[in-house]
Symmetry: C2
Subunit: 381 residues, 2 copies
């Protein structure tokens, strides 16, 4: 566990003796974007158990967890970085670290939290105890696709120059390696759960670019360079999310851009291995933790529907309509259930992934991202 | 979180209000086999923070965690099944469920805990709240290799007949599927982290046998059927552990039987892809969570040594001697550190996996198995 050391930056008046023991291994936070609050949920109880307020602009917010699964670090679009204690259900520290930010990551040892910023462009890194800034890495560009990698490293990419930077904090001050030639206007990226492969999606050209981070001098490798991203020029905010990319049974499954399809790519050769036609333009294609199923949601106006694809047959085995504006999905760590944010229904809905039966609805205020604490133990989440 | 409901089977006198919040996400338990106790450790603090006693015979003991990472279910060799609260640091329930048992597993939904027994031979399944028995599955044989699989299933194998049984609890009463022809005297088994492939090691013949659990009717597939397990007939207790099998970069890495080697097997084709000569007869070959390194310990009398193998080059990149009787290793969930039980030194030693620097020694009484709470979120652990 990590203890709270004084002084912290905000109110901590009320550390009363806990009268109920809170074990956090099966908890989670749901982003309530309209009100800037987080709903604390309990997977085992299939229930909401609290709400934490005062987090600022939470549109497109994301968060990561401390290794002890007690603290969440919340990245707001407004540049706010907040440290939330989910046991005490309160914000224990908060800094406005930039004007416009887009996501963050926590180092493998849990001591550093990094935020990528549009304005000023770059990455800032903070001590997870105090939220004091320990490194400022300006890139001169909007910076996207920030992830953690093993060895106290962060990896991120510049929109303007198409460079991926690897910042290695293993010796204290960061050692920076720059990889050029990632392609035109990378808009997002992911790292595989083993921390080996970093893949950026490109806005300015067809396809994606991969890096093998195990290589001593990683070289950009094109992925699906001519798959045909569709006729329409989509705005950035309509590009599919990459965080949701699935790796299942040795293949990546990714949402096509501008097509009603998901694409299958061999995880070793990075060659296309198939396409599955879908109900709409996919937003997230997320693998159940065992990799046997991929659950897909879709862009407006087809965003009331989910399709489930079997990864062996690559065929759709189930389709249903949870309700209006399905924004996000999160599986329980071992995959037996899935929680789904249905924004315009004001509910999070819980389904059995074997039977597809709806098990429970939980009231939530414009729910979007769902983040279970088990992410604390995963690379890149 | 899961709450404790009264009545429980043992003393619970002392649920005092916790004056310190215990976040359990980065805790772990070390089996102290000589005294039948568990040492509670904190990964972030690199320290022992408590001891839980009264667990009976803990030789070859193992344990699993509840989804909320608060409770451990401990499987003693003497047939004892104990439920331990790591927040309150006490045994909250205990049953003697058989005369001689060998390992257990917890269902993906956290509601069932199963134990495999030599005497009487079979598997018994208990409610995780109360430890009341909910199913008794006699097999008429010593039963080994019990694991959980997705979909509220348990998989286990009989020593005498060489059958693997799949017990599906998704509809309440277990539906049992039997696969015959797994080979002569399976002595242990593992399931891959995706829950797809179940592999048994064979004592009575060369090689191993795999099952694809995604197949509607899984068929036994021989693995390395003629690799040559060495000239000596080893006793069962000297066979390598299978729990420790690594999967790294698309290959399984497994300890050879009767050779000073680890064997590499393609995870898709199950064909041998290489061998690496080692210091001694390997006992555990464990992959760092990112799969880039495999750490190997060895059988007596060479059990003072560890070798680290790079999974890309398949070459040994580091060798050192932690001390006498290295019994087990456990990586932090994201792999930056490793904890190593050195029984006859009376210590658990903690190393940085990038620099190989020793970071700390923790006193422990004849330490053997180390189990971090992040196992709660994994299949087959």
């Amino acid at each position: 566990m990590k203890r709270l050391f004084a002084p912290v930056l905000m109110s901590m008046a009320s550390i009363a003796a806990a009268d109920t023991i809170v074990a956090t291994g099966d908890l989670g936070l749901v982003v309530e974007r309209a009100e800037g609050s987080l709903l604390l949920v309990d997977q085992s109880e299939r229930a909401a158990i609290g709400r934490i307020e005062g987090l600022g602009d939470l549109s497109h917010a994301s968060l990561v967890y401390s290794p002890d699964e007690r603290f969440a670090f919340v990245f707001g679009r407004d540049g706010g970085l907040s440290k939330v204690d989910i046991v005490e259900q309160e914000v224990v520290a908060r800094v406005m670290q930039a004007g416009n930010s887009i996501g963050g990551a926590i180092s493998d040892d849990g001591t550093l939290v990094a935020v990528s910023n549009y304005e000023p462009g770059g990455v800032r890194v903070f001590d997870t105890e105090t939220l004091e800034m320990v490194a400022d890495i300006p890139t001169g560009s909007k910076t996207i696709g920030l992830v953690d990698a093993p060895g106290r490293r962060f990896v991120f990419t510049t929109w303007d120059e198409g460079e991926t930077w690897i910042a290695d904090f293993s010796a204290g001050d960061p050692a920076i390696t720059k990889v050029v030639g990632m392609g035109a206007n990378p808009y997002d990226a992911l790292i595989t759960s083993d921390g080996r492969t970093y893949i950026t999606g490109l806005f300015g050209q067809d396809g994606l670019t991969a890096l093998d981070l195990w290589d001593a001098t990683p070289e950009p490798t094109p992925v699906l360079p001519g798959y045909g991203r569709g006729q329409e020029d989509l705005p950035v905010y309509k590009m599919p999310h990459l965080e949701g990319w699935a790796k299942a049974a040795g293949e990546f499954v990714l949402p096509a851009v501008g097509h009603h399809q998901v694409l299958w790519v061999d995880a070793t050769t990075l060659e296309e291995t198939g396409r599955t036609d879908t109900h709409g333009q996919p937003v997230f294609a997320m693998a159940r933790p065992d990799g046997r199923q991929v659950w897909v949601n879709f862009a407006h106006p087809l965003n009331d529907t989910i399709q489930v694809i079997d990864t062996v047959s690559k065929e759709i085995v189930h389709e249903f309509k949870p309700g209006p504006a399905v924004l996000h999905m999160e599986f329980t760590p071992r995959g037996h259930e899935v929680w789904i944010s249905v924004r315009d229904a004001g509910k999070v809905m819980i389904y059995d992934t074997q039977t597809f039966e709806k098990l429970r609805e939980v009231e939530a205020d414009s729910p979007s991202g769902i983040f279970f604490t088990a992410r604390a133990h995963r690379t890149g989440l």
